[in-house]
């Protein structure tokens, strides 16, 4: 069985073989990319639109490179969400996209569920590139690919996801993917940044870094936005770093060969110490970026095949 959905809106609900298929295909794209070859006929004549309602140079560029490597015509659209009636903009945009015969639509939006709403209204296959605090499926796929290539498997690994889990779509997608693939997932952070009933997602909840990291194979750090401190969820950056920032001392609790990951962009000195982030023995943060392109190529490839060529 390969991937059976029209869109990629969320990891939640995907079956292990679907995830496995995407990772296997991405693996082949890693090799292709490293060999310097291209496959520019695969998406020739197809239009990929990067529709970003929220700034993200990193993710947008990654999708752009992935699309271009497969030969698609890539168009970037940035839409300001500062206008008063955001929803109207979203559906107006959907109507515009239909008129332009877009084939693949990559959406980033600051509201949970916005890609689901768009998927109901557009003809294109929709790829969620991050929606509010809901999901960020391609980030979870690239994280899984990074882990799988380094550790040879996902099953049985202990993965500690640390920091602002409450507001993190990266955390949610990773939790769904890793638990689906048989990893043991822990979430670690202060109670004010932990979503309600987090344990119901099949994870163990910790409020202490050393305990949460004990014996971990993977330490996945999350970005803490400054806004969280302004809203009183965390008293201060220095207090956060003291208790939840990843430094060498806290990392010592994890397995000696534990890998450090971060979805970027990093707040050095807030959630992660530079010495750890830049440690070539432990940090795979740069590798994550490379995997991102391969995973997105696999997703674009799969979704375009899923629809059948004649539909374009």
């Amino acid at each position: 069985m390969s991937y059976r959905q029209k869109h990629l809106l969320a990891i939640e609900g995907l079956y292990p073989p679907e995830i496995g298929h995407l990772l296997d295909l991405a693996e082949s794209y890693v090799l292709l990319n490293r060999s310097g070859k291209t496959q520019r006929d695969l998406l020739r004549g197809r239009t990929l639109i990067n529709l970003f309602f929220e700034d993200s140079t990193r993710t947008r560029t990654s999708f752009e490179i992935a699309g271009k490597r497969l030969g698609a015509d890539v168009i970037n659209m940035s839409v300001s969400t500062s206008s008063v009636n955001k929803g109207e903009t979203l559906l107006d945009t959907a109507a515009t996209l239909n008129a332009m015969h877009c084939d693949l639509l990559v959406v980033r939006h600051d509201q949970s569920g916005a890609p689901n709403l768009l998927a109901q209204k557009v003809d294109a296959a929709v790829i969620n590139a991050g929606d509010g605090t809901h999901e960020h499926p391609t980030q979870a796929l690239l994280d899984a690919l990074t882990i799988r290539r380094r550790k040879g498997r996902l099953e049985g690994l202990i993965v500690a996801i640390c920091g602002d889990v409450l507001h993190s779509r990266v955390a949610r997608s990773n939790i769904h993917l890793l638990t689906t693939m048989g990893s043991r997932v822990r979430v670690v952070g202060p109670p004010t940044l932990m979503p309600a009933e987090a344990a119901r997602l099949g994870v163990e909840v910790f409020h202490d870094m050393e305990r949460g990291l004990a014996g971990a194979d993977i330490v996945m750090m999350l970005r803490l936005q400054r806004e969280r401190m302004q809203r009183g969820l965390v008293p201060s950056a220095r207090e956060y770093f003291r208790f939840f920032g990843l430094d060498a001392a806290k990392l010592a609790a994890a397995k000696p060969d534990a890998l450090v990951m971060h979805p970027g962009p990093m707040n050095r000195g807030v959630e992660i110490d530079s010495a750890v982030a830049d440690d070539p023995q432990r940090s795979v943060i740069r590798e994550q970026v490379e995997m991102g392109v391969a995973v997105r190529m696999a997703v674009l490839d799969t979704l375009s095949r899923g629809r059948g060529r004649n539909e374009f």
Binding site: K86, L90, S112, G113, L117, A196, L201
Partner: protein, 424 residues
């Protein structure tokens, strides 16, 4: 006006204990007579329906009308159409309109607009605070004098304990009730769903269910302190219901209602970001829903209100957290409530009382009963006939029903206002 003779129907009125297979005669807009058999009236229009139940026209103690200010959502005329189709003949209208009903002239206007419909008595709520802004008390006395039925800030909670104390205390002097939207505002401010596993999975900001109990607990204490009467609208959690049950047992002047979504649906209705199921308060876990059903059965809940909140497509076609909460409820009030009768949770008498006698008693009005000499406000329904709710096909303008697709047993066959048929 031509006489109407309901022939061989089940006459049903919990207020008077009436449950009789028989006839009812309407003369001059009033209930002239009823009994096992009234014989034949030559000049009367005869209404006969096998298996039908004739009950008092429903009294809905909580509905938003859209007028004034939100006519793009609903007008009084379109709300009246939906009400008639739902068997509702008396309706208490929420004051958080634009402008808010915080001026005696607006109360009189709404009453008059109700009369113009010819099918619906509109009982306006007055605003508790000026503009429903929660800052300073509105002119409760003048509003009451103009005909405000009770006071509420509608969908907004009176958040300040001091202001709520003043409102309860002051309104007591006019014998009026304060109706509270029970969500602690600072806890509910950003919430789009009930906090918990589902909201976590969907990545939606959650409001803890306890936000309801917290405000209910506070206002029960304030009612006890002031001797004023507090009524909690659309109560939806086990914890709040238990507090109300206890306060009633202690003799504190407290009452409450709920609305069909809170005993028929649970939070899973919002799955896949369905904004029609985004309500205020939000849908709850099933344990809370079951507690609402139990509280309907044991008398803790005094009334079932439609909680009709008309929204237009643009209000709802939004990412979930940005969509406007609220669902229509007039056309589905009776049928969804009857589902609790069919399931065995409520008797027919309990169900009808919660939509007639119960709210009429709370509002202090002479409606919601069948008695000789009273205006013939009547609802004829078939308890077993089935229909399916379909957004887009509902009577009235607003189509934002949280029950879209729900198959229901119980169909309103006809509605009469003061003896005149206004639906069916």
């Amino acid at each position: 006006m031509r006489d109407v003779l309901f022939s061989r129907v089940r006459l049903f009125d919990p207020a008077s204990g009436l449950d009789l297979q028989g006839d009812l005669l309407v003369h001059d807009g009033l209930i002239a007579d009823f009994g096992p058999s009234l014989g034949h009236a030559d000049d009367a229009a005869v209404v006969a329906e096998e298996g039908a139940v004739l009950c008092p026209g429903l009294v809905d103690m909580r509905a938003a009308l859209g007028e004034p200010g939100y006519e793009y959502r609903e007008t009084i005329a379109s709300a009246a159409e939906a009400a008639a189709a739902g068997g509702v003949t008396t309706l208490a209208a929420l004051p958080d309109t634009l402008p808010a009903i915080d001026d005696p002239a607006l109360v009189r206007l709404l009453r008059a607009r109700g009369e113009e419909t010819g099918s619906l008595t509109i009982l306006p709520y007055g605003a508790v605070t000026v503009g429903c802004r929660g800052e300073e008390l509105a002119e409760l006395g003048l509003l009451a004098e103009a005909g405000a039925i009770a006071f509420t800030d509608g969908s907004r909670a009176v958040g300040s304990a001091r202001l709520m104390r003043l409102a309860l205390s002051y309104a007591k002097g006019f014998g009026a009730r304060i109706v509270q939207h029970p969500e602690e505002p600072s806890l509910a401010a950003e919430g789009a769903a009930t906090e918990g596993e589902l909201a976590t999975r969907l990545g939606l900001p959650g409001t803890p269910a306890a936000a309801e109990a917290i405000l209910v607990a506070r206002d029960i204490r304030l009612a006890a302190l002031t001797g004023g009467a507090v009524h909690f609208a659309h109560v939806s959690t086990a914890e709040a219901l238990q507090l109300i049950r206890q306060a009633k047992a202690e003799g504190i002047s407290v009452s409450c209602d709920t609305a069909p979504p809170y005993f028929d649906l649970n939070e899973t209705a919002i799955g896949d970001f369905r904004t029609y199921a985004k309500l205020s308060p939000p849908l709850r876990k099933d344990t809370d829903r079951l507690a609402v059903v139990a509280a309907l059965g044991d008398g803790t809940i005094d009334a079932i209100a439609s909680d009709h909140q008309p929204r237009d497509a643009d209000d709802k076609r939004q990412p979930f957290a940005q969509a406007t909460p609220g669902g229509t409820g007039l056309a589905t009030l009776l049928s969804v409530t009857l589902a609790q009768v069919h399931s065995g949770a409520l008797s027919l008498g309990q169900a009808i009382a919660l939509m007639t006698e119960g709210p009429a008693r709370l509002l202090g009005i002479k409606a919601g009963r069948i008695a000789k000499g009273l205006p013939a406000d009547l609802c004829l329904f078939h308890p077993e006939r089935i229909w399916q709710v379909e957004a887009g096909q509902l009577p009235g303008k607003a189509q934002n029903t949280p029950f879209d697709g729900r198959a229901l047993e119980g169909v309103v066959l006809g509605t009469w206002k003061a003896g005149r048929q206004v639906f069916g």
